[in-house]
């Protein structure tokens, strides 16, 4: 065992240094995967089914006809209402995130078609300050839900978030109430809302729109919770059970409707909307 395992690991690290974009190691099974092949499989490991995190744009491409989203509200930018500075100013964090991920903040929203049906869709980007919800995320969801209400169309939100954005303080907390209010309006008019949970969805996002879907779907093994596992562990001073706060755990406890692998998400959504619309 040892004699061939060692050189194998060495070879891998060399490869990664040479061409980081070509090979990736699966977090699920440790298998070394060819990035292009992984991309063709919606970034799901063909060996173990591990779902790699993908940016909003890739989810949009996966779900919408022709991969096309007519994007809304791309001109909204985070303000710095508290003048928040920790190890660096909040404005610098936002600028760096825009540099890395583009100007959409932690969610892209818009209208597209899913199997020839109009849908209003929002997809979060965990890469933008941990997918945290500040005023821009809240306002974009509010406007998206209101447009869906006005057009009588279904709403789909794909969550990936560490929760509320601390740097916007109380305003971030209020986005929970704001998005819930918009969803209440949507529901009042009988429009469907499907919530898709991806790894991870925690904190204020879970405790607002993510858990308010008429139907709640989750990707396999996604971490979903109110409090983070570390906070819980520190509070109760016990080890957490295996699989705690994973999608399968939530399914067993009745908190999500179905676990749907990414590659099956579009046909499942299509059938659901057929029933619900």
């Amino acid at each position: 065992m040892t004699w061939f395992k060692k050189p194998k690991q060495k070879l891998v690290s060399q490869k990664r240094e040479l061409a980081a974009d070509v090979w990736v190691k699966c977090d699920g099974c440790g298998e070394i995967l060819y990035e292009r092949r992984l991309g063709e499989n919606a970034h799901v490991c063909p060996e173990c089914g591990h779902h790699f995190r993908i940016p909003a744009g890739e989810y949009i491409a996966l779900l919408l006809d022709d991969g096309f989203l007519e994007e809304f509200d791309t001109n909204l930018r985070s303000a710095d209402p508290l003048g928040f500075v920790d190890s660096k100013p909040y404005t610098e964090r936002v600028d760096a995130a825009i540099e890395k991920m583009g100007p959409a903040d932690a969610i892209r929203t818009g209208r597209g078609r899913l199997d020839d049906r109009d849908v209003y869709l929002g997809a979060m980007d965990f890469g933008f300050i941990g997918g945290s919800m500040g005023s821009v995320v809240g306002e974009k969801i509010r406007r998206l839900a209101d447009r869906a209400t006005e057009e009588g169309s279904p709403l789909i939100l794909i969550s990936a978030s560490g929760g509320a954005r601390m740097q916007e303080g109380i305003f971030s907390l209020m986005q929970m109430a704001k998005t819930a209010a918009a969803l209440e309006r949507l529901a009042e008019d009988g429009n469907p809302y499907i919530s898709i949970l991806t790894h991870p969805t925690t904190g204020g996002v879970t405790a607002s729109y993510a858990m308010l879907g008429d139907v709640i779907l989750s990707e396999p093994e996604a971490l979903i919770g109110f409090a983070g596992p570390r906070v819980i562990k520190e509070t109760i001073r016990q080890d957490l059970p295996d699989g705690f706060q994973r999608a399968e755990f939530l399914l067993a406890h009745g908190m999500v409707d179905r676990i749907v692998p990414r590659v099956e998400m579009k046909p499942v959504l299509s059938t659901l909307l057929h029933h619900m619309c």
Binding site: T74, N75, D86, A180
Partner: protein
């Protein structure tokens, strides 16, 4: 809202750091929900349980008479000593507490009575059972229900307004806040642990988070700052209750005069207006 003369008192705005306010908000002798209920209400009939799992003693609620009229009161309840704190889980509710609150709010709506909530929690409890039974869903559901509840809602932040656990009973037509209460997206200690990697930086985090009643009034998140007697509510609980009762009566009268359809619409508009962002010109 025109009664903000309180703010003019110099000692209200000056003298105390934000973290000192945090300590006052957590003071063991500070009046809790049941203290205000017994000072301000009569005929309190506590109602228990979420009809699903159990009764959560961290949230109390029931019918009460406020100056001649029936209201539904709901609030988080901390314990005065260790024994009571164990029973009350230090005022940190489980999902069934939020679901009890939802049940009582629905009942108030059914009978056309206003809801008055008292917010005083360090946060919703982070535990295994809480997660198993859907802490996030329970809070989310309350935000949704309160956003559309067809009866007036007034929330009073009397001590700690700890994040989603506070908001879960605080989506309201009017949010009142006692002078030395705090209300924040995260505790200063939690924020410090994440952003400064040390809980010892809580004072700096408290300053950055802007979590005092004065801050939140400036930011337009609360509707009224209710002054406390000199030295704080714990020095003169009766005096604090008197100030709060006066504000409650005034807001209840105003809300009762508003048609319920209009009330729900303006509540939605109020939360729609929450947040600060910039709109850059599109290319």
């Amino acid at each position: 809202m025109e009664e903000n003369a309180n703010l003019e008192r110099p000692e209200a705005a000056a003298g105390l750091s934000r973290y000192e306010r945090v300590k006052l908000a957590r003071h063991q002798e500070r009046p809790f929900t049941i203290d205000y209920v017994s000072d301000l209400f009569s005929e309190f009939i506590e109602l228990h349980g979420d009809r699903n799992f159990r009764d959560d003693p961290a949230i109390v609620g029931g019918w009460a008479n406020f100056r001649g009229r029936s209201v539904m009161v709901i609030g988080q309840q901390k314990g005065r000593d260790m024994k009571e704190n164990v029973h009350r889980n230090f005022g940190s509710p489980h999902p069934e507490g939020y679901r009890k609150a939802e049940r009582l709010m629905r009942m108030a709506e059914k009978f056309g009575k206003p809801v008055v909530t008292f917010v005083d929690t360090q946060g919703a409890y982070p535990g295994i059972g809480a997660e198993e039974r859907g802490q996030a869903e329970a809070i989310a559901r309350n935000l949704f229900v309160m956003a559309g509840l067809r009866t007036p809602i007034i929330s009073c932040v009397i001590g700690e307004g700890g994040s989603g656990g506070a908001l879960g009973i605080a989506v309201a037509d009017r949010v009142l806040m006692l002078e030395n209460a705090i209300y924040s997206v995260i505790s200063p200690e939690g924020c410090a642990a994440i952003l400064w990697r040390s809980r010892d930086e809580a004072e700096r985090a408290a300053e950055a988070l802007k979590l005092t009643a004065t801050d939140l009034l400036d930011l337009g998140v609360i509707d009224e700052l209710v002054s406390e007697p000199a030295g704080g509510a714990h020095v003169d609980p009766g005096g604090a209750a008197e100030h709060l009762g006066e504000a409650l009566a005034r807001h209840l009268d105003e809300l009762r005069a508003i048609d319920v359809e209009e009330l729900v619409l303006s509540r939605r508009e109020k939360y729609y207006g929450m947040g600060r962002w910039e709109e850059v010109p599109t290319e």
